[in-house]
């Protein structure tokens, strides 16, 4: 786990961030150019099928984001290190953006093909539930009154909420659905033409890069916001001299100064509070 977090930290470096930002721009520009002007239109749907090159990768990034929330939440519950909470909250925020984007793009695709902006189809409904779960996750983070409790509660939601991701993916198999079956992430060969598949793969790479880039930036913002939420007296204290966060063994209330976001360690219980 330590090495995974170290790798994430390296990705958050300024140089890595700039390279990733440039690669994201190039990838997205190539996706737009090829998706709109190079690859041929679909035989039955025509030009509107070109929305696949943004709709499907947006859904993929949403799955990826919530997968990262799931792993980071387990890591937080196991280690108590606040960095994992920051990874989870950053990824959840990005996941909510991409899930919203997926729904909007699906709606734009559904109108000309299905004749409706929205229908209570299993895939659409489970995706809406997924969005609500992670909007709830972010709301929970706003209402929890201390950082340790906030991190623990949201980690539990981050683990439990992930159950909906395989349900969303399998909904078109398990229930009768208006939504088409999976074309790439399915058993057997993909069911689309080679040039379309290549464009879709390019879009997957571009959107994954966008996720990596936004994660790196969001993690940096998270560190700054954690610092800015400290009392001024603590901000000017060198990190090594700051008191460790202490949680009361009685009711989970926090005693002392909450600073887990900065030194990355959460004290389990203090003799002072026993």
């Amino acid at each position: 786990m330590r090495y995974v977090y170290r790798a994430l930290t390296l990705l958050g470096g300024y140089r890595a961030q700039r390279v990733m930002g440039a690669a994201t721009l190039v990838g997205l520009a190539a996706t737009v150019a090829i998706g709109l002007f190079v690859v041929p239109p679909d035989a039955s749907q025509g030009d509107v099928q070109r929305l696949m090159y943004v709709h499907v990768p947006a859904a993929w990034v949403a799955y990826l984001s919530f997968g990262v929330v799931f792993v980071a939440s387990i890591a937080y519950l196991k280690t108590g290190r606040v960095q994992w909470d920051r990874v989870a909250s950053s990824s959840a925020e990005i996941g909510v953006s991409f899930t919203t984007l997926t729904i909007v793009l699906g709606s734009l695709w559904g109108r000309p093909v299905w004749g409706t902006w929205w229908t209570w189809d299993p895939r659409l409904t489970t995706t809406a539930v997924l969005l609500l779960i992670y909007v709830g996750y972010l709301s929970l983070r706003k209402v929890a009154d201390n950082p340790i409790r906030r991190a623990r509660w949201s980690a539990v939601v981050g683990v439990v909420g992930f159950i909906d991701v395989p349900i969303v993916h399998m909904s078109v198999v398990w229930w009768r659905s208006l939504h088409q079956q999976a074309t790439v992430l399915r058993p057997g060969e993909p069911t689309i033409a080679g040039s379309m598949l290549a464009t879709l793969m390019l879009a997957f790479v571009a959107f994954s890069l966008a996720y990596g880039y936004l994660m790196a930036v969001r993690m940096r913002v998270g560190r700054l916001e954690d610092r800015s939420s400290l009392p001024v007296s603590e901000l000017s204290t060198p990190r090594a001299r700051r008191p460790r966060p202490v949680e009361s063994p009685i009711d989970g209330a926090v005693g002392g100064v909450i600073d887990g976001a900065l030194d990355g360690a959460v004290a389990k219980a203090s003799p002072r509070h026993a």
């Binding site: 709109l36 929305l51 913002v221």
Partner: protein, 51 residues
């Protein structure tokens, strides 16, 4: 021709969403950095392990 409008709207929504989120992060970063540097008198980048 009508379909092209949906496609153009979809691609525009995608790019605008990504750009808007990146801009929002820049605003949040600037605000937090300003608060920290005003409070401590030192500039900060938010880089891991440095502040």
């Amino acid at each position: 021709m009508h379909d092209v409008g949906y496609v153009a709207a979809g691609y525009a929504v995608t790019l605008v969403t990504l750009a808007a989120y990146r801009w929002r992060l820049a605003v949040r970063s600037r605000r937090a950095r300003r608060y920290v540097s005003t409070s401590t008198g030192r500039a900060t980048t938010g880089a891991a392990g440095r502040d």
